[in-house]
């Protein structure tokens, strides 16, 4: 074999020298946007850095964080999950109902009682089950993800209504609502930090390791980047896709349990439209809806950005109507910048 070509060190340095400031700005645009937003809010409002406000921001973000982290996995495969809002409601209602009144099994006339923790686990399991159905619909019955999860959006919402009879389930007890309202009281200096964000953050960290450093994670990128090439490389494409929907469903289930815990109640219309915030966070975080591109870190940033923006607009007393318009513009701007910078075709075109 010919000798090793003069490697790459040289040309790599050349590239980074040439790189300059603009690409850095583009690469860290979410961080920059977040920093600018926070700075702006610090200067224009008195209440942004108050303990109460920070807790509010973090609690609000937690639910969307769970949803959008799960959504990221599905989006990486080139799919989408429109059912997460409904799944959240169903899981929350199941957990709340079981915690409050247990499960009555008519034929044996018995009542199975649940501990708060057991009820919460059952709620998550419900989400997992929804994910399994979604994953099966996409891989076994080969439905387009948009259609499969659109169906599930309606089914899960309907099941929630059936389970609750259309009424909220209140007063779930202090143990149930601890997760959503507790704080890290025992930890010095961090006593004000809500439990909710700790749980959601820890999960995001776990999923970040899963996507970045496991074979399953690699598979997500490969399947989304080029499904045929992934299959020819011997990757279990169907199992990888199913795994993404399972994670997404389970995390939506967890989000539902967390929300019910925080409100100390489950309402049948919880989470309506949440799928849109989750997708927005994923997209602002730099993921491509075509699949194969995106990171959990990016999604976390996207989530923070949306969360801070939401609260910030309230603090600045912007009318709710304008809030929606502004949020939409932010999403469009984020994706437009993405397209303009990273969206160039990478292949040298048709070779001659």
């Amino acid at each position: 074999m010919p000798p090793t070509p003069p490697t790459s060190e040289a040309s790599q340095t050349a590239t980074s020298v040439r790189a300059g400031l603009l690409p850095l700005v583009v690469q860290f645009r979410s961080v920059l946007a977040l920093a600018v937003l926070v700075l702006l809010l610090s200067l224009t409002t008195d209440s942004f850095w108050s303990e109460k406000n920070l807790q509010n921001v973090l609690r609000q973000i937690s639910v969307n964080l769970c949803l959008s982290v799960g959504m990221t996995l599905v989006v990486l495969t080139g799919g989408i999950d429109l059912s997460v809002g409904s799944t959240l409601a169903l899981a929350g209602a199941v957990a709340a109902g079981l915690a409050k009144s247990g499960l009555r099994i008519e034929p044996w006339n018995t009542l199975v009682e649940f501990t708060p923790a057991g009820a919460m686990l059952a709620g998550m399991a419900t989400g997992l089950l929804v994910g399994l159905v979604n994953g099966t619909a996409v891989t076994v019955f080969r439905l387009p993800p948009f259609v499969a999860t659109l169906g599930m959006l309606s089914i899960a919402r309907g099941l929630t209504m059936l389970w609750t009879g259309g009424n909220p389930i209140h007063d779930l007890g202090p143990a149930f609502s601890f997760l959503g309202n507790g704080r890290l009281d025992a930890v010095p200096f961090l006593g004000w930090v809500p439990m909710l964000i700790v749980v959601a953050g820890a999960l995001a960290a776990v999923v970040a390791v899963v996507t970045g450093h496991t074979r399953f994670g690699r598979g997500l990128y490969a399947v989304g980047g080029n499904e045929r090439a992934a299959a020819v490389s011997g990757l279990p494409v169907a199992a990888i896709k199913r795994g993404a929907y399972l994670w997404c469903g389970a995390l939506a289930g967890l989000a539902g349990v967390l929300l019910a815990s925080r409100l100390n109640a489950a309402t049948p219309d919880a989470g309506v439209g949440y799928e849109l915030d989750a997708i927005a966070a994923v997209v602002i975080g730099g993921a491509s809806l075509g699949g194969g591109r995106g990171t959990i870190g990016g999604t976390v940033l996207g989530c923070l950005l949306i969360g801070v923006l939401n609260i910030g607009l309230v603090l600045l007393d912007v009318s709710p109507y304008w809030q929606q318009v502004i949020k939409g513009l932010v999403i469009l701007a984020a994706v437009a910048i993405d397209r303009a910078t990273a969206g160039r075709p990478t292949s040298p075109g048709s070779s001659s």
């Binding site: 010919p2 074979r215 075109g349 070779s351």
Partner: protein, 514 residues
């Protein structure tokens, strides 16, 4: 008609054209001259830059440097529309027709004649289309949906469409590659008619045999540069080939003498049918590839080469029958996963569609099929991945700025080497290569042949499918010829000639003897 001996002034003249893509200088001083009423045959190996220049002339790409003049006036097309307005049209290899629409709709797409009410004037459109087709002596009903037409007829529709723009310069990119003999004759008749109307043409082809019938001038590219242009003369054929390749051919195929060992891959009565219709694609193929042996699989389009390799690799589990043995053991291969476990690797024909994830890095693509080898405690080790990738990059001389470069930015030859590296990372015993050098430059080709030779010397069993005769003769120890899915001949290294192989590859005329 142009009087013989008088060469008219150029219709189009391109000089000193340069064009770089990330990782590859596609054109480095290319050019061409086209005169009215004459056909200029553009020759060159794959990767010589022919299609890139044509895309520039047609306004699809813009050049980095160089001049293009039409009727002596410099032009710079920013879009295909501008090129069309200046009278330049291109017929691509992949035809650009909308399947569901009629012939007439396709010809006048986006500029259908309208009635006073602003609706499409269907009657006039059909009438105009019919007249246009008649000027080419074509008997096509303009109301037929394009999807019902054969490839050859579609090409004629494309040409009619180009002429409807009053094109004075027509670029034909390998127009005959998918045509039957009869369709080729029709095409040539149309070409002659166009010449008599003063249309200038650039004609890209690999089939030198067809040039005497149509070519007036010849232009040859090598490695992105113009190396020869002259009036075409059939007797200069060998000179043309030499100028295209630019090197001694024997030099290109570094095949060392081999001494095949024990059988590593044995196919016994392998058949593949088309899923759904059950139409046979491969019928009763039995062959053996020994350790250290390179077996070439030759066949024309549709002969079943790709299907055979894919079946061995487990890509058609429902449609495959027959037995496969790998080494001593019978292998039940129902998926690529099974094939990999048995030690079989496939480098697929279409590297962009099946071989690579273009957005992922060189290292990630190389490790894709062998992640379990670099997984520690359930986590993929990036350190091991980088190390293995760096090793492969130097072993296969993959030219890339770093192993974290997105593979889509590399040139075709280097992409092909990454596909190869991905397969080799699985440490296979049997290597299946489908068109391993399609569309890559001659330098990369030679490096890939050298790798194939080295792997064979290392004891691997290699089965290579190719539609390029010189390649298959150059690198194979044995050549198996397929026609319509059946083995029609086997040649050993010494006895294979282009004529004999081609003869075996052409299917017998069906129904010729009744």
């Amino acid at each position: 008609m142009i009087p013989a001996g008088r060469i008219p002034p150029p219709l189009l003249e391109a000089r000193g054209i340069r064009k770089a893509f990330p990782g590859v200088q596609a054109l480095a001083g290319a050019g061409i001259t086209v005169r009215p009423g004459r056909l200029n045959a553009l020759l060159g190996e794959n990767g010589a830059g022919k299609s890139t220049l044509m895309n520039i002339l047609a306004g699809v790409l813009s050049p980095d440097a160089g001049t293009i003049a039409i009727d002596g006036r410099p032009v710079a097309f920013r879009s295909p529309r501008e090129a069309q307005a200046a009278g330049v049209s291109i017929i691509f290899q992949e035809l650009n027709l909308v399947d569901g629409l009629s012939v007439a709709e396709n010809i006048f797409l986006g500029r259908q004649p309208q009635t006073a009410w602003g609706l499409v004037d269907r009657r006039r459109m059909l009438h105009d289309a019919r007249e246009l087709l008649a000027t080419l002596d074509l008997d096509i009903d303009p109301a037929t949906p394009v999807e019902r037409l054969k490839v050859g007829t579609r090409q004629m529709v494309e040409i009619a469409k180009a002429l409807s723009f009053n094109s004075r310069l027509l670029i034909l990119d390998e127009p005959t590659s998918a045509l039957t003999e009869h369709e080729v004759e029709t095409l040539f008749a149309v070409i002659r008619r166009l010449k008599s109307r003063g249309v200038g043409m650039i004609y890209i082809t690999h089939r030198l045999d067809e040039l005497p019938a149509i070519a007036d001038d010849v232009t040859i590219f090598r490695d992105g540069s113009l190396v020869h242009e002259a009036v075409f003369a059939a007797e200069n054929r060998t000179e043309y080939v030499r100028r295209m390749v630019g090197r001694d051919l024997a030099d290109l195929y570094p095949r060392s003498p081999s001494s095949p060992g024990r059988p590593l891959l044995e196919l016994d009565g392998l058949s593949v049918t088309r899923p759904g219709s059950g139409q046979p694609l491969v019928t009763d193929v039995s062959l053996t590839v020994h350790a250290g042996e390179v077996v070439g699989l030759f066949g024309l389009m549709g002969a079943g080469r790709t299907e055979l390799l894919e079946a061995v690799y487990g890509l058609h589990p429902q449609a495959t029958t027959g037995r496969i043995r790998v080494g001593e053991a019978a292998a039940a291969i129902r998926s690529p996963h099974d094939a990999l476990a048995a030690g079989i690797v496939l480098a697929p024909e279409d590297r962009k569609a099946e071989g690579l994830v273009l957005g992922m890095s060189v290292a990630e693509n190389i490790s894709m099929a062998s992640l379990e080898r670099i997984t520690r405690h359930g986590l993929v080790s990036r350190r091991l991945e980088k190390a293995k990738a760096a090793e492969a990059v130097s072993r296969l001389t993959i030219k890339t700025p770093s192993t974290s470069q997105a593979v889509g930015t590399l040139s075709g030859g280097n992409q092909q080497k990454v596909v190869l590296a991905k397969g080799l990372a699985c440490h296979p015993r049997v290597l299946l290569l489908d068109e391993p050098t399609r569309g890559i430059d001659i330098g990369a080709k030679r490096e890939i042949y050298a790798v194939i030779d080295e792997l064979a010397r290392g004891g691997m069993a290699i089965l290579v499918a190719s539609s390029e005769l010189p390649e298959i003769i150059g690198i194979s120890d044995r050549i198996v010829v397929l026609a319509e899915g059946r083995v029609t001949a086997v040649f050993s290294r010494g006895e294979a000639t282009e004529q004999a192989i081609l003869h075996a590859a052409i299917p017998p005329q069906r129904g010729a003897v009744a």
